[in-house]
Amino acid sequence: MKDSDAVYIENLTKKFGHFTAVDRISLAVRTGEIFGFLGANGAGKTTAIRMLCGLLLPTSGNGRVAGYDILTQSELIKRAIGYMSQKFSLYPDLTGRENVSFYGAAYGLGKSAIRDRLEILSDRLQLREFLDRPTASLPIGWRQRLALAVAILHRPRIIFLDEPTGGVDPVFRRRFWSILYELAEEDVTIFVTTHYMDEAEYCGRISIMHQGRIIEVGKPRDMITQHQAHNLEELFVDLIKGQDQADA
């Protein structure tokens, strides 16, 4: 691996009994890269991400995330990364500010550090107008910006975003992505999963996972050209169907 790799994994494998959820995947993601991690439901993405985030030990293989060994330094990884999921719930009855304070404290940030950081993020993510409203009352696009603020509160070097924009309208989505681009500019590495191919095109590079294996990696445009597909959605469906036929 290179020092500039934020994520580096080699033959990472996870078996649950006889079932191989993740099957010898290898990947290198550069610092500051926006990497799209695609695959159908059940392809093994979530299991792979859990290993990268230090939440699950691989059965075999090895790798480093943010410079730390995923086999032996999972606690350090957890502190070095941020994680945001569509399902990962902010506390709906707490206001935005209260959610931020809660998670800030959980990451061991002091009160004044949380306050300072919130000040910066409020401007950057345009949170100010809804910080004091109960989270449950916010439109989904705002809630997702708040969730992003919580995920980057402790200045992680890598953020893992698991379907961050599900159900969000195109205007919000575009705004959300311009924030991600700004973070990437500051050398924050972004590792994102999405089911939406127009969004996958915003990524610098993507991989497509199927039945535990990575079947394709590259720049979205190059992949479309190579396979002579009309768009990424067509490419995705064709690749997976083709793989299924090859397996059969």
């Binding site: 439901n41 696009g141 159900g167 309208d169 127009d198 610098g204 959605e233 469906v237």
Partner: protein, 305 residues
């Protein structure tokens, strides 16, 4: 006769104008998509269509019947799949179907025929005994659609049916919709995703309770004013800023490169010199067709049609 006809609908909640003089129609055998940001009025519109709310003014006709006065007669003609998972998670797939069949008075062999028919396109038969709550996202959506179709309605209303569903399952879901369309069903669907809008026969952009634009996906895309070029260069913030500083040109990061936008009546050659300054060869830029999202954002940003 239109399958759905909404004329001059207005609805106010307190001092919020949720819908303003909104009209549209969907024909039999047509898929019509409504797209717009959160709070644009899509859900209010659907509530009015399904008689879950009453308009301040305007009328809704479904299958030729007035929703205000003939609500009961409309029921057999209308299938509705709400945005949030509306099935009974503790009931099995089959029990959910049976439950909905019961509501519409479908029993015995009539029910079983319908169930088997729905299984042929949903592929849910092997999961008949599985709890609905334990299904994958894609299977849940297919079950919800099956329940909405149990009484064979000729008008189908779907509120963001595929949110959170993977591309393969979404493709299958849309293949089912295309099959229904071929049999003459009128389908109204709301979605935040432009690739789905592109599959509809016609679509309309909704914003601030009003219709901004309506047409076939190609017509809507064609309304984009401007030219877009792809620049295959590392999209640093500095480069974006330098490009943006060029008068008459704007730049936006796009994946591994950038999109450059210029006016409809401008030519990229006009920018040859300032681009050269940044080490960019204007003749090397790839013209890129606008897509629905480009047009949608343009409409939102200008705030008017």
């Amino acid at each position: 006769m239109n399958a759905i006809r909404a004329a001059n609908l207005s609805k106010t909640y307190g001092h919020i104008k949720a819908l303003r003089d909104f009209s549209f129609a969907v024909n039999p055998g047509e898929i019509f998509a409504l797209v717009g940001p959160d709070g644009a009025g899509k859900t209010t519109l659907i509530r009015l269509l399904c008689h879950l709310a009453t308009p301040d003014s305007g009328t809704v006709m479904i299958a030729g019947l007035d929703v205000q006065t003939s609500h009961e007669q409309i029921k057999p003609h209308l299938g509705y799949m709400p945005q949030h998972f509306s099935l009974y998670p503790d009931l099995s797939v089959e029990e959910n179907l049976k439950f909905y069949a019961g509501i519409y008075g479908l029993r015995g062999p009539e029910y079983r025929d319908k169930r088997d028919y729905l299984y042929t396109f949903s592929n849910l038969a092997p999961f008949a005994d599985r709890r609905a709550g334990a299904l994958s996202g894609g299977m849940k959506q297919k079950l919800a659609l099956s329940c909405a179709l149990i009484h064979d309605p000729e008008v189908l209303i779907l509120d963001e049916p595929t949110t959170g569903v993977d591309p393969l399952s979404r493709r299958q879901f849309w293949e089912i919709l295309l099959g229904l369309r071929a049999r003459g069903t009128a389908i109204l669907v709301t979605t935040p995703y432009m690739d789905e809008v592109a599959r509809a026969d016609r679509a309309c952009f909704v914003y601030d309770g009003q219709k901004l634009s309506e047409g076939t996906p190609d017509e809507l895309t064609g309304q984009f004013s401007g030219r877009i070029f792809f620049l295959d260069r590392e999209p640093t913030r500095r480069l974006v800023r330098d490009l943006d500083a060029i008068e008459g040109l704007s730049a936006r990061r796009f994946g591994s490169g950038l999109h450059l936008y210029i006016d409809q009546d401008a030519r990229i050659e006009e920018f040859r010199r300032p681009l050269e300054h940044l080490g960019i060869d204007a003749s090397n830029l790839t013209p890129t067709p606008a897509d629905l999202e480009d047009r949608f954002i343009q409409l939102m940003e200008s705030g008017t049609s």
